[in-house]
C-alpha cells in the first residue's frame, strides 16, 4: 500500500506525467481555440495521426526537427482548412464532417505510410528531440526535473498555453474569436467576418492538434506506429469541457489527467498480478467520462458552438 503512495514522491513519476501531458496540452489548446470560435472539431483524432506521421516523415526524409514540427503543423492546418470550408461557409454538420475528417486524415496517413515504406516490418526510427536541461531550475527537487528537464517541444506546449490564453483574453483578435463563438452577429456588426475568424481559428487549432500528434513521434517516441494516437484526441475534447473552455483550467486538467495516466502505468507494475492490466488501461477513458459527468451541470458551452452562422439569418 505504501508503495502505491510513494510513487507520487518520485521525480521520475512527475517527469513522465509532464511528458504524457505535452501532446494533450497542444491538442487541447487546438480544440479550445476551435470551440471558442464556435466550431466543434471532431477531426482532432485524425489530425493528430496525420501530424504524428507528417512530422516524423519530414525528419525521416532528412529535414531537421523544427522543420518537421512545421510540416506537421501545416498538415494539420490543411485538414483544418478542409474542415472549416465544409462547416463554416457551407454550414454542414460539424459532427459528421469532423468524423469524416478523422476517417480521411487517418486513412490518408496509413495509405501514405504504406507508399513511402512498402517493405518495412519494424517502423524506422529518427533522432528525436532530447531533453534540454535548464540550468539551476532543473536542480529543484521533484519539480525541477519534471518541469525543467524536458524536451523543447514540452516547453513549447507550455508556451502555447500562455500564448492562447493571452490572445484570447487580451487581444482584439481574441475578442473577435470569443465573440464568434458566443454572438456571431455582434462580430459581423463590427465589420469583422465571422467566416474569416472561424476558418482561421479552425486552421490554427488544427495546426496545434497536429503538433500534439507530432510530439508522440518526435519527442515521446522516435517512430510512427499505427494507432499510436489511440483516442488521445477524444480525451482532449473531454479536457476542453473539463477546463470550461479556459486555457489555464484546461492545462490543469491535462496535467491531472496525465498524472493519473502515469500513475496507472506504475500501479500496473505493482498490482499487475492481481488486477488484469486492461483495467488500468481503461481508466484514462473512464476518467474522461467521469470528468465530463462531473462538470456537466455547470458546463457553459460557447453559446454559438455548433451553430452555423449565416449572414442575415437569426
Amino acid at each position: 500500500m505504501m508503495e502505491a503512495f510513494e510513487i507520487f514522491l518520485s521525480a521520475s513519476f512527475w517527469v513522465a506525467a509532464i511528458r504524457i501531458a505535452s501532446p494533450l496540452i497542444f491538442a487541447t489548446m487546438g480544440e479550445l481555440v476551435c470551440e471558442r470560435a464556435g466550431v466543434l472539431n471532431l477531426g482532432i483524432e485524425g489530425i493528430m495521426v496525420s501530424g504524428a506521421f507528417a512530422g516524423w516523415l519530414a525528419v525521416y526524409l532528412g529535414a531537421d526537427l523544427w522543420t518537421g514540427v512545421a510540416v506537421a503543423a501545416l498538415t494539420g492546418m490543411a485538414f483544418g482548412l478542409l474542415h472549416a470550408a465544409l462547416t463554416v461557409p457551407l454550414g454542414l454538420s460539424q459532427h459528421v464532417v469532423g468524423i469524416g475528417i478523422t476517417l480521411l486524415a487517418t486513412s490518408l496517413t496509413y495509405f501514405t505510410y504504406r507508399i513511402v515504406l512498402p517493405e518495412v516490418t519494424s517502423p524506422p526510427k529518427i533522432a528525436a528531440f532530447q531533453p534540454l536541461k535548464i540550468p539551476v531550475l532543473s536542480d529543484i527537487p521533484v519539480i525541477g526535473p519534471a518541469l525543467f528537464n524536458q524536451t523543447p517541444l514540452t516547453y513549447l506546449a507550455f508556451a502555447t498555453v500562455a500564448i492562447v490564453a493571452w490572445v484570447l483574453a487580451r487581444t482584439p483578435l481574441g475578442l473577435a474569436i470569443r465573440a464568434a463563438g458566443e454572438n456571431p452577429s455582434a462580430v459581423e456588426a463590427q465589420g469583422i467576418s465571422v467566416t474569416g475568424i472561424r476558418v482561421g481559428a479552425v486552421m490554427a487549432g488544427s495546426g496545434l492538434m497536429a503538433v500534439g500528434g507530432a510530439f508522440l513521434t518526435m519527442s515521446a517516441f522516435d517512430s510512427f506506429f499505427f494507432e499510436m494516437v489511440n483516442g488521445r484526441g477524444w480525451i482532449c475534447i473531454a479536457l476542453v469541457v473539463f477546463g470550461s473552455w479556459r486555457p489555464g483550467k484546461a492545462l490543469v486538467g491535462a496535467i491531472l489527467f496525465a498524472a493519473f495516466d502515469a500513475y496507472q502505468i506504475r500501479l500496473q507494475q505493482i498490482a499487475g498480478d492481481v488486477v488484469p492490466y486492461q483495467v488500468f488501461l481503461m481508466m484514462p477513458y473512464l476518467l474522461s467520462i467521469a470528468a465530463l459527468v462531473l462538470v456537466a451541470r455547470r458546463a457553459t458551452y460557447p453559446r454559438a458552438l455548433m451553430i452555423p452562422y449565416r449572414k442575415g439569418e437569426r
Binding site: 478542409l82 464532417v97 468524423i99 469524416g100 480521411l104 512498402p118 480525451i235 473531454a238 481503461m282 467520462i289
Partner: protein
C-alpha cells in the same frame, strides 16, 4: 457568398449530386493511385473484378456488407433523432461477447430456440451499452459523441481482458481468442460451402422492419420530430428524453446484431480483430444512404464492394488497400456536400 434554401429540390438534382459525389471520390482516389505509381483505370478494373467479377467475389461482398448493414442501420436510426452514436463499434463487440458467452455450450438448447435467444440477448447488451451515454445526455447534458467514442476504447480493452481471462480458449495456443460457439448457435450458411450466411437475410429483414418503424409508427414520427427540432418537438408535447432513450436502445441493439452475426454466422469465435472498424464505417454507410433504412442496404453493398475489391486489388497491384478507407471517408464528405447542394443554392454577391 450566401446560401439560399431551395423549397422543392427537383428530382434530377437529388439524383445528380450524389452521383457527382461518387465521381469526385473516384477522382481523388485516382490521384492517390497515381501517387502509388499505378494506372487508375487498371486499378479500378481490378477493384471491380475483386468486388463483383466472380461468384466468389460477389458472395464475399455480400458477406462483408452484412455487418455494415447492421451498423449502418444503428447509425441511421440514431442520427435521425440527432443522437450522435459514434459507439457502434463497442456495441458490436457487446453483442459478440454475449454470443460467445451464451453460445459456447452454456445453454443446451436446439438451434431454433437458442439462436433467437442469443440474438435478443446480444441486442439487449448493445442497447444497455448505449443506454448509459443516452441517459447521461438526457439527465446531465453530457455530450454523447465523446462518451460513445471513449466507450469504444473501454470496450475493446474489456474484450481483450475477457479473451485473456474467463473467455480464453484453452486450446488457443496462447492466442487471445474465445472458444468456438456450438453448432446449435451457428447461423446456417445460405449456400453450402460458401461463407455467406443467414446473417445477411436477417440484415435485409431488419432494414425493412426499421423502414416500417421509421415511416409508419408513432415512434418513427417522434424520432424524426426530435431530430428535426428538439425544442419544437418538446413544445408539441413529445417526450424528447424518452424518445432519445428509445432511439438509443434501438440503435445499440442493431449494432450489437452485427457482432452476433459476425460470430454466429461467419467467424464462429471472438477475437480482437472481429471488426475492422465496422462501427465507424457504419457512419459512412448511414450518411451515404441519407439515413434511409432501405438505402442503408445499398450503401452497405457499395462500401463493402470497395473494401473487398481493394483487398483483392492490393494483392496484385502495388496500391495499398488503405485506398478503400480513403475512398469511403472521401465519399462521406462529398456526400454531405452533395446533400447540401440539393437543398441550398450558393449565391455570390
Amino acid at each position: 457568398m450566401r446560401l439560399e434554401a431551395i423549397d422543392a429540390p427537383s428530382t434530377p438534382t437529388t439524383l445528380l449530386y450524389p452521383v457527382g459525389a461518387v465521381l469526385v471520390t473516384f477522382v481523388v482516389a485516382s490521384g492517390l493511385v497515381m501517387m502509388a505509381g499505378a494506372s487508375p483505370l487498371a486499378v479500378f478494373v481490378l477493384v471491380a473484378r475483386g468486388a463483383a467479377g466472380s461468384q466468389f467475389a460477389l458472395l464475399e461482398t455480400l458477406t462483408r456488407a452484412t455487418p455494415l448493414i447492421f451498423t449502418g442501420l444503428a447509425v441511421a436510426v440514431a442520427f435521425r433523432a440527432r443522437l450522435w452514436n459514434i459507439g457502434a463499434e463497442a456495441q458490436l463487440y457487446a453483442g459478440a461477447v454475449v454470443t460467445v458467452v451464451l453460445g459456447t455450450g452454456a445453454l443446451p438448447l436446439p438451434a431454433p430456440l437458442l439462436l433467437p435467444l442469443i440474438a435478443v440477448s446480444a441486442m439487449l447488451a448493445g442497447a444497455l451499452l448505449l443506454l448509459g451515454p443516452a441517459l447521461l445526455k438526457t439527465r446531465f447534458g453530457v455530450d454523447e459523441v465523446v462518451t460513445t467514442l471513449l466507450l469504444n476504447f473501454v470496450m475493446i480493452l474489456f474484450v481483450s481482458m475477457l479473451l485473456e481471462g474467463v473467455l480464453k480458449d484453452p486450446t488457443g495456443l496462447g492466442w487471445p481468442q474465445s472458444q468456438r460457439v456450438i453448432a446449435e448457435a451457428r447461423l446456417p450458411r445460405i449456400i453450402e460451402g460458401k461463407r455467406l450466411h443467414w446473417g445477411f437475410i436477417v440484415a435485409i429483414v431488419s432494414a425493412f422492419i426499421i423502414w416500417v418503424v421509421m415511416k409508419k409508427t408513432a415512434l418513427g414520427t417522434e424520432m424524426r420530430a426530435v431530430g428535426h427540432n428538439a425544442e419544437a418537438a418538446r413544445f408539441a408535447g413529445i417526450p424528447v428524453g424518452t424518445v432519445i432513450v428509445k432511439t438509443a436502445l434501438l440503435s445499440g441493439g442493431l449494432a450489437a446484431l452485427a457482432g452476433f452475426s459476425e460470430v454466429s454466422g461467419l467467424k464462429g469465435n471472438l477475437t480482437l480483430d472481429l471488426s475492422p472498424g465496422f462501427g465507424y464505417s457504419g457512419i459512412v454507410v448511414a450518411m451515404l444512404a441519407l439515413l434511409n433504412p432501405v438505402g442503408v442496404v445499398f450503401s452497405a453493398l457499395f462500401v463493402a464492394a470497395i473494401f473487398v475489391g481493394a483487398d483483392a486489388m492490393s494483392r496484385s497491384a502495388q496500391v495499398p488497400s488503405y485506398i478503400a478507407d480513403v475512398m469511403v471517408a472521401t465519399a462521406l464528405l462529398t456526400m454531405v456536400v452533395a446533400v447540401m447542394l440539393t437543398r441550398y443554392r450558393i449565391r455570390r454577391r
